[in-house]
């Protein structure tokens, strides 16, 4: 059995276990004995014990199978190869695999035993692990079956398992953070060995062009990240300047003024804005918005660079409107009607009610929505790369071209690179610093929300 059919088999067993557990509990109850928990809890417990361990085993097996098989294969390789370097062994094993599936490479008689062994192994492990998985599932059924008694605390047990699952889920976020730190820390560390953190954090010139090739220009490159952070700030501010008022007003309009039909269609329509690929926005910003801005600016006698922070910021603002509008609309909608009634009853107009009562009550959610939008703006790359350019100017003029941290990260990682040049490593350092900066920002935001959060009802 392959993985998918095994998973299906386990799921079927799981369903069966649920019914079995429930019915057993019911049978006990029908003898007039009072159960600690509902029959469904016993069913759920049985299902959990039937499903979880085998699925876990499957996961571990999936991760461990390949290395184990390869390990077993080594023993079957000709002596000469076994003595060889690890890469030789590695290659031979790849070859054995490809021979085994008959992928059209020249046969090698000396590998014949290994190939046969592999085919054999694959069949046996398949049998073995299907067997193990299924028997584990059956074991779960049997053990739980025996444990089901009237006074068994099935609900408590189910709940504590579910609680652990919930806990593990929230652990994913923490692990992600650790993973990100782990995957940038080493390289960032190396970078700070080459460039002083002080220069990096406070330097105002960003020009990462260092020699990648021996015969390339030898300029040492300067790694002052201030212009990047300033650029990120500028563009995010412009984007928020569009997205927050438009998004919030749209949310208010949709939840307080619009007829249900309009809301029903307009809200998802706006949500589409979040899903348009950023390449499309990039083209839009670079080819539609930027020229308009340039012409407008020039007609007013302003010097507008053909790649302006304004164009990128405006379009990015449009893209993140739904983050503000939809999430705010949800929280605004969740404010109890009685609060609105209280305000209307005092003779407040709709807008007063919204501004004075509804928004404050929905504030934590709205701030959350805005933070999400800000985050998205900070993390966005493509639009800026296409419309605001890559020149690291330190300026507050939205008509100038600026670049952002993320754009630099992407260009450094996607363009030509060298594994140990500060130019490439700088991407990791930027990632790390951005991570820490936004961490502080979020900390501040959380504190603000905590201060102003008001419970209603």
């Amino acid at each position: 059995m392959n993985y998918s059919s095994l998973i299906i088999a386990v799921l079927i067993l799981l369903g069966g276990a649920y019914l079995l557990g429930r019915n057993r509990a019911r049978a006990i109850a029908s003898q007039g004995i009072r159960l600690h928990s509902l029959p469904t809890h016993y069913g759920a417990l049985m299902a959990l014990w039937t499903g979880l361990p085998p699925l876990l085993l499957l996961l571990i097996w999936g991760l461990a199978e390949a290395p184990i098989i390869d390990h077993l294969l080594i023993a079957q390789l000709p002596e000469a190869i076994q003595q060889g370097t690890s890469s030789e062994i590695q290659l031979t094993i790849s070859k054995v695999h490809n021979l085994a599936i008959g992928a059209g490479i020249d046969a090698a008689p000396e590998l014949e035993p290994a190939v046969r062994h592999l085919i054999d192994l694959q069949q046996r492990t398949l049998l073995l692990h299907s067997g193990m998985v299924l028997s584990l599932a059956l074991l779960g059924i049997a053990l739980t079956w025996r444990r089901i008694k009237a006074d068994m605390r099935a609900r408590t047990e189910v709940e504590s398992i579910v609680r652990r699952l919930l806990f593990a889920s929230s652990g994913v976020a923490v692990l992600t953070t650790l993973g990100i730190l782990a995957s940038v820390l080493y390289e960032a560390w190396q970078f700070f060995g080459k460039v002083s953190p002080f220069e990096f954090l406070f330097g105002t010139t960003w020009s990462p062009q260092v020699a990648l090739r021996a015969d390339q220009s030898g300029s040492s490159g300067s790694f002052g990240a201030v212009p990047l952070f300033a650029g990120t700030l500028l563009i995010s501010l412009i984007a928020m300047f569009i997205a927050v008022p438009v998004g919030l007003m749209a949310a208010i309009y949709l939840s307080e003024y619009a007829t249900p039909t309009i809301r029903q269609y307009a809200k998802p329509a706006l949500e589409i804005l979040a899903g348009i690929p950023t390449v499309v926005y990039g083209f839009f910003a670079a080819l539609t918005v930027a020229p308009v801005i340039r012409e407008l600016g020039e007609s007013m006698g302003l010097a507008v660079s053909s790649e302006s922070a304004l164009a990128a910021g405006l379009v990015m603002g449009i893209m993140i409107i739904p983050f503000v509008s939809s999430l705010s609309d949800d929280v605004i909608n969740a404010v109890p009607q009685s609060l609105r009634d209280g305000s209307y009853g005092l003779g407040a107009t709709k807008s007063e009610t919204v501004k004075e009562v509804v928004i404050p009550a929905a504030l934590p959610g709205i701030v959350g929505a805005i933070m999400l939008a800000v985050s998205r703006a900070i993390g966005e790359t493509m639009i800026v790369a296409m419309a605001a350019g890559l020149a690291a100017n330190l300026t507050a003029n939205p008509l100038d071209s600026v670049t952002t941290v993320t754009v630099q990260i992407v260009t450094l990682l996607v363009g030509d690179q060298e594994f140990d040049s500060p130019k490439t490593l700088a991407a990791f350092a930027l990632g790390l610093v951005l991570f820490l900066v936004t961490l502080v920002l979020n900390f501040v935001a959380l504190k603000v929300v905590q201060k102003y959060r008001e419970q209603y009802d």
């Binding site: 919930l166 976020a173 995957s183 929280v331």
Partner: protein
């Protein structure tokens, strides 16, 4: 006191002028905001459709061609391999040479460049399906080269034209048009083919399947995990520094540039766990990490919005915490969670940068069958095509964007309908 009362009324009346205006303004701002958003949407859509609609039509050359078994050197019993090795390209060249009689080598080259490389595969396939065609004359719509396609669809009769079609070629084309040989037909290949370097053969089936599989993985992982994490953090986690740290952390993850998730995926999933590069599985895993914060944050906001009185009522009846959450809080919070999911998934659907790091920015011709086959996704396909030199890829880029948007709209509609059923005000 009557005086005061009168004066109150007067004060209110007096304030009304200002307030009515404020109310009207507020309403107008709201309406304008919605309209602005919708206009942007319409503008973007219009632009894309305008550019991309022509991608759905393909120019073909209708011709009667003799499948010369002798030339091909195969007979009716030939197996697939033999057919594959046969020189159909040469056959087509012969055919067209007879048709227009080019003079000299350079004219021959001009002529051959007008027929797609796919034409030979078309014939090959026809013969493979039906070996009895060998030795017969068949009528077939051979795919024209992308340059011919562009000329026929856009440039014919205009001065402005990239000199990919020269006078001789135009002469031949005009001749074919007169004979009714040149025409456009619905571009089925665009939907049934995988990627190709020949614009006229390039299709999005591989990318669509890849997108579907990738998003499936993303959704199956991110929605349950996101909802579960939101529930845990909001309802179960003790309020302390650790929870606070986790909360900040999650908010922070939302601001992590998406390419960083690619780095993470590369470092953890590929290098440590040995997941294969360029597969929907690894793509889905990376996008899950990226989507999770959005779902968790919106989920928590939605849970927070559930009034405490409802929880109290359930607790008072002896519901356990878990029951309160799953019977009362979750159903009320689900619409909000769905919003987060819709936005998060939409974002995942349009994402390119992190996929760069995990090998999904790739040329993959074969349509993936399952989550561990090499594949690419629509936004990447769009990104790659948009950077291709061939002019014909421009309209295909827009065409692919239209398909992506169609995908997005379908996905959102389903979720929105679900959300609407769950939504209620209390």
């Amino acid at each position: 006191m009557t005086n005061t009362s009168m004066s109150t009324r007067e004060k209110v009346e007096k304030s009304m002028v200002r307030r009515r205006a404020a109310e009207k303004r507020f309403r107008v701002y709201g309406m304008a905001s919605v309209l602005f958003g919708l206009l942007c949407l319409v503008g973007l859509f219009g632009d894309i459709i305008n550019k991309g609609a022509s991608a759905f039509r393909q120019t073909v050359i209708q011709t009667e061609i003799l499948i010369d078994a002798d030339y091909l050197g195969i007979n009716k019993k030939a197996d697939d391999q033999e057919i594959r090795n046969a020189d159909f390209e040469g056959l087509i060249k012969q055919h067209f040479k007879k048709l227009v009689q080019p003079e000299g080598r350079s004219e021959r080259r001009m002529l051959y460049s007008m027929i797609s490389a796919g034409a030979a595969w078309q014939l090959q396939e026809a013969v493979m399906l039906n070996p009895s065609l060998l030795g017969q004359t068949m009528s077939i719509n051979l795919i024209a080269d992308d340059d011919v396609d562009q000329w026929f669809k856009h440039d014919r009769g205009t001065e402005l034209h990239n000199n990919r079609m020269n006078e001789t070629q135009v002469k031949w084309l005009e001749q074919w048009i007169e004979q009714g040989m040149l025409k456009t037909q619905f571009n089925t290949l665009f939907f049934v083919n995988g990627d190709s370097r020949e614009p006229e053969l390039a299709g999005i089936r591989g990318a669509i399947t890849g997108t579907f599989l990738t998003l499936l993985v993303t959704f199956l992982l991110s929605f349950p995990i996101g909802v579960a994490a939101a529930i845990y953090l909001e309802e179960f986690a003790p309020r302390n520094k650790i929870t606070e740290f986790v909360e900040i952390n999650i908010n922070n993850l939302a601001a992590v540039p998406s390419i960083t998730f690619g780095l993470l995926g590369l470092a953890i999933f590929i290098n440590i766990f040995g997941v294969a590069r360029s597969t929907p599985l690894i793509g889905g895993l990376v996008l899950t990490l990226m989507t999770l914060p959005t779902i968790i944050i919106s989920g928590r906001a939605a849970i927070k919005a559930v009034p405490p009185s409802i929880r109290e009522a359930a607790f008072g009846l002896g519901a356990s915490k878990m029951q309160v959450v799953f019977h009362h809080v979750l159903p009320l919070a689900l619409p909000g969670m769905l919003t987060g999911t819709i936005i998060g998934m939409a974002q995942a659907l349009g994402e390119t940068a992190p996929l760069l790091m995990i090998g999904m920015v790739a040329f993959v011709v074969d349509v993936p069958g399952f989550v561990n086959d090499p594949s690419t996704v629509l936004p990447v396909q769009i990104f790659l095509w948009s950077d291709s030199p061939e002019r014909a890829f421009m309209e295909r880029t827009s065409g692919a964007i239209m398909v992506l948007l169609g995908f997005l709209v379908t996905m959102n509609t389903a979720a929105v309908m679900l959300r609407r059923r769950l939504e209620r005000r209390w």
